[in-house]
């Protein structure tokens, strides 16, 4: 998880089944980008909180709130959760992206944060960036034009 205030760009590359989440408070020009890989932390002693959607998002919200982020004006955007490989006869395989997306949405709802834009699912990896000065979120994906979320 990285965050910045005032100016700068934060970027995370090649989100596959992982999910990128940006939180942006336009009043403070405070923006953060979190990259989670799995839906849930199962081992409470695991220190890598940002690896998991549940613990990662909560820690991110806690941290940004400490820097003054106000939930009611925060703009939330999410991207990723692709399924790149389809194995015939094993539909469970590779649906981790879908499970990640579901968990991210659940935690956001519990935290009373509304998603204002998303680009999830599909079969292509995505690169996600946020410009902290403007709050502009850009998604880059193979063979597609850049997309502003």
């Amino acid at each position: 998880m990285k965050f910045a205030r005032g100016e700068g760009e934060i970027i995370t590359y090649a989100l596959g089944s992982c999910i990128g989440i940006t939180l942006y408070d336009p009043f403070l020009k405070l923006g953060g980008l979190l990259h989670v890989m799995l839906p849930m932390r199962t081992d409470p002693n695991d220190q890598k909180v940002y690896k998991y959607a549940d613990t990662g998002l909560r820690e991110m919200i806690r941290k940004l709130s400490a820097f003054g982020m106000v939930k009611s004006r925060t703009i939330v955007k999410i991207a990723g959760g692709a399924k790149m490989f389809e194995i015939r006869g094993n539909s469970d395989f590779g649906n981790i992206g879908q499970r990640n997306a579901a968990m991210v949405k659940k935690v956001l709802m519990e935290e009373r944060l509304r998603i204002s834009a998303e680009d999830t699912g599909g079969s292509s990896a995505r690169t996600m960036s946020i410009n902290v000065a403007t709050g502009d979120v850009i998604i880059r994906s193979a063979g597609k034009p850049e997309k502003h979320l």
């Binding site: 090649a14 596959g16 089944s17 890989m37 790149m84 094993n90």
Partner: protein, 207 residues
Amino acid sequence: MRIKSYEDMNLQELDVMKEISSIGTSHAATSLSKLLQKEVRITIPEVSVLGYEEAVERIGEIEELVAATLVQMSRDVNGLILFIFKMDMANVVLEKLIGNRYASFEEMDELSYSALEEVGNIIICSYVNAFAQLVGVDIDLSVPSSTVNMLGGILTVPIAEYGYETDKLMYINAEFVMDGVRLSDGLLMLPDIESLNSILEKLGVLS
């Protein structure tokens, strides 16, 4: 001592993996050579246990488009096996099989795409067959699945699949030498930790 993660393997165990990989890779090279009717030589494989960033760096650029074929292993050994084609390697194969070269994967048509998938599958199957025979295990393989995607995204597939067990990948890297050009073979064989233990046990090296 049982292994809990890839990075727990000691030098001797890694050496054994290298030895089996070397046999697997040479079988794969033989199949490729027969298919392309071309001499294919290999370098001695290196087996490394890498974190995600290191693995990406070793293979290429994070946003680089590559074609990958993925096969799932089951029965005695569970896990994934991934073969990654970079553009240079893909072109050598496609030029010989179809008579086409491409500047990028995005230009590729359906025929070339399925040719690559098939070659990836053949390489994986001959690798796994040699491996299974040597270790004395039965391995079932799934139907192959392919994608053209960013390298970084593709490597998150095994990382996420084993995310609750380990953060590392076992990367077996040999080079295929064709027409005097060295091409990285980009093969990742990823038995789950349970299977890795049983492989090492079978081979009598688990200390």
